[in-house]
């Protein structure tokens, strides 16, 4: 396998992009990444998207987007793994470059979620759960994560306030990210007084419905010379778990993240203690708590204390979600995994401006589908 680096990144402002079409949102991000990389062609494109069909009635994305980019007849591949679609699309692009099949590959993600109403969006998202054993009984993702939160609180003493601290921290980070959907400071009280969604999770515990896209350009090493400092893909790993929450051996443990992370650490030859920062899948506040445990940043059961202690804030021991995370930056599901990688690249280039992690050397991204039925973990480092 060849070594591979990210040589260009692109992303537009996320939010309720009612003035822009699906293809426009994607093309803007893709062209920005290509321009950032300074290349005049890509050999293939990958796009992570959870449900173009249910959100905007559009499938067949590989062909559509290659055409929009004016780069047909290059191969275009759509990758789907629910909310981990972006991360998995990047992994496929990475494998394509590492294997020698392609030299320069565009990895992208997109979701346009606000063209349908809240009920339709909730339904579309629920297709990531087990239709026969979860959805038919009426449960939605906030409900599933609420159950995970309840177990975590019961077993480890994680408090309601500790969950709120995760949202407070990520909003504080997002305030520093000009492309974030919600650039607003919130307090623990704001979270605790916000609308109840699924007890104990309130609306400010939940990531939003978002329109957005992100793109990165990968290239096989060695490079003849690049416009921007390349950032090396040190490890790429993916894993799965039972799709239904009820089939898990432990409701308060994300095994797919644990397995993918273990594989990534082994490949990179580093330990969690070596990480400078992480971008993780905080679709709900409890998710970040559980993810940082599965990544080994904290001991099992201790995830609740991290945000409250400042350990995971910018300036803390290992900043988690310096971009603002899904909570503040937004969560256009298919684009999330790619946007995490864009953030990692900016941090390792030293271009993250006000939210720059000092002396960043190793960065990890973790993107997750469903209640953790799929996880994709990447580790990046400076070349």
């Amino acid at each position: 396998m060849r070594d591979v680096a990210v040589i260009g990144v692109g992303m537009n402002r996320w939010g309720e992009l009612w003035e822009k079409s699906y293809r426009q949102i994607w093309t803007e991000a893709a062209l920005e990444a290509i321009a950032d990389a300074g290349v005049d062609r890509v050999d293939a494109l990958y796009v992570g998207c959870m449900s173009g069909g249910l959100f905007v009635g559009q499938e067949h994305l590989g062909a559509l987007l290659a055409d929009q980019l004016g780069m047909g007849p290059i191969p275009g591949t759509r990758v789907e793994s629910a909310c981990a679609s972006g991360g998995l699309a990047f992994r496929q692009a990475y494998l394509a470059a590492a294997s020698g099949e392609h030299d320069i590959v565009l990895a992208t993600g997109i979701e346009k979620m606000t063209d349908v109403d809240g009920g339709a969006a909730t339904y579309a998202l629920s297709t990531a759960a087990d239709q026969e054993y979860e959805c038919y009984h009426g449960v939605t993702f906030p409900g599933l994560y609420a159950m995970m939160a309840r177990v975590h609180m019961h077993r480890y003493g994680t408090t309601r306030e500790q969950l709120a601290q995760v949202a407070v921290k990520n909003h504080a980070h997002g305030l520093l990210n000009p492309l974030a959907q919600f650039r607003s400071k919130i307090t623990v009280e704001d979270v605790l007084e916000s609308v109840m969604v699924a007890d104990p999770l309130r609306v400010l515990d939940c990531s939003p419905i978002t329109d957005g896209a992100a793109a990165v350009v990968l290239a096989a090493l060695p490079l003849k010379g690049t416009r921007r400092p390349p950032v090396k893909v040190v490890a790429s790993a993916a894993a799965t778990d039972t799709i239904g929450l009820h089939d898990r051996a432990d409701l308060a443990w994300l095994r797919s993240t644990e397995v993918a992370a273990a594989s990534a650490y082994a490949r990179a030859g580093i330990t969690p203690a070596d990480l400078s920062f992480c971008e993780v899948h905080d679709c709900f506040t409890i998710a970040e708590v559980m993810v940082i445990e599965a990544l080994g940043l904290v001991e099992r059961g201790k995830g609740g204390e991290a945000a409250a202690s400042g350990m995971t804030a910018l300036g803390g021991r290992v900043p988690v979600n310096p971009s603002g995370g899904l909570k503040s930056k937004g969560h256009p599901v298919g684009a999330t995994g790619i946007a995490q990688i864009r953030e990692a690249v900016l941090q390792l280039r030293g271009e993250a401006e006000d939210r720059q992690v000092q002396d960043a050397r190793w960065g990890l991204t973790q993107n997750m589908g469903g209640t953790g039925a799929s996880s994709v973990v990447h580790i990046f480092g400076r070349v």
Binding site: W18, T114, S194, V195, M196
Partner: protein, 350 residues
């Protein structure tokens, strides 16, 4: 030649339902909804009240304040999205009840929540054109939200009526402006019982774009700024939107509060900003300037600049005032009674 309001009146039904009562039925978080929407309770029409009956009540009060013979009214325009009949005008019934027939032109208007200010706009234009001495513009609605929908917390009932003329004015219309685009944020098709809406899309690209644009162009063309006005009033789909619109335009809370009725009235749709204007006229002093901007989904805003005259003090107490109705004798009902009143219980024989 001046044109403006000769007489005004409003009508608020006596029945109310509290937001908590609705939230309780649907398992919603009442305190969060109250904060989020800026609403506490809303008016509910009794089973024998509709757009026609409320229009009659409001128009009678307007005519009392105008001190004119109703037979001299040359036109009646009722704006509503809840005209009782799909075919057959509300205006004929109302004009007959007022004693304004048969020398009168009539049209029922519909433009979601903007129809009331449209009626005002057209009635006033005909008077200005010397087609007639007096014309009546009315905004009235018994609006409906589908059970459990966010609209159910706001959709309420009320009416405002204005007699327009050229003499004995209580408020001179100094400027008007209308701003409109094709923006489908809220609609009800034929044979549908409840309207549908595009959720959060009704905010930024719909309400705020049209209300703020209308107000800005109106002030620019008239060479005015927020500090030139004593009062402002905007369409009130909830308690939050009009307050934010006022703030973004540079108006103070004090300028906006008198006409802000929605926290305890709800959204009276076509009656909304016109009713707010009546609450302002109830307390206005001669010389006060008022900026009024309506909003109707689909979407558009009508803007008016009013200057209150000396005659206002003579008419304020001639009929019941708007806040007196809002804060006066009320009957609180439960959700079951509300469902019955609003025809939400569908009988099998219908």
């Amino acid at each position: 030649m001046s044109v403006g309001i000769v007489g005004y009146g409003s009508y608020v039904p006596r029945h109310r339902i509290k937001l908590e009562e609705i939230a309780k039925i649907w398992g919603a978080d009442a305190p969060a909804y109250k904060r989020g929407l800026g609403l506490r309770e809303k008016s509910v029409p009794a089973p024998d009240q509709d757009t026609i009956t409320m229009s009659v009540e409001a128009a009678r009060r307007a005519i009392v304040r105008a001190r004119i013979d109703p037979a001299r009214i040359g036109a009646i325009y009722i704006g509503s999205e809840s005209h009782p009949y799909a075919v057959k005008p509300s205006g004929t019934v109302v004009a007959e009840a007022l004693g304004a027939t048969p020398d009168i032109h009539c049209a029922d208007l519909e433009f979601a929540c903007k129809a009331g200010s449209e009626g005002m706009f057209v009635a006033m234009a005909l008077v200005k054109a010397n087609e007639m001495d007096y014309a009546l513009g009315i905004g009235a609605d018994t609006s409906q939200g589908a059970p459990g929908d966010a609209l159910e917390y706001s959709a309420s009932a009320g009416a405002a009526a204005f007699v327009f003329g050229r003499e004995h004015l209580v408020a001179v219309c100094e400027h008007t402006y209308a701003y409109m685009t094709d923006t489908p944020d809220f609609w009800r098709r034929e044979y549908q019982f409840y309207p549908r809406h595009a959720g959060r899309f009704t905010g930024e690209p719909a309400y705020f774009k049209h209300v703020l644009s209308c107000a800005r162009v109106l002030m620019e063309r008239s060479g005015t700024k927020p500090s030139d006005f004593r009062w402002c009033v905007f369409h009130q789909p909830n308690g939050k939107f009009p307050q934010r619109a006022a703030r973004e335009l540079g108006f103070t809370k004090e300028q906006n509060d008198q006409g802000l009725l929605s926290p305890t009235l709800g959204n009276t749709y076509s009656g909304s900003s016109p009713m707010g204007l009546t609450a302002i006229l109830d307390v206005a002093k001669p010389g006060d300037r008022v900026l009024m901007v309506s909003y109707g989904s689909g979407s558009g805003s009508d803007g008016f600049i009013w200057r209150v005259t000396e005659r206002i003090t003579e008419v304020q107490d001639l009929a019941v005032q708007t806040r007196a109705q809002l804060e006066g004798s009320r009957v609180y009902i439960d959700y079951g009674t509300y469902s019955k009143f609003r025809g939400k219980i569908r009988m099998g024989t219908e």
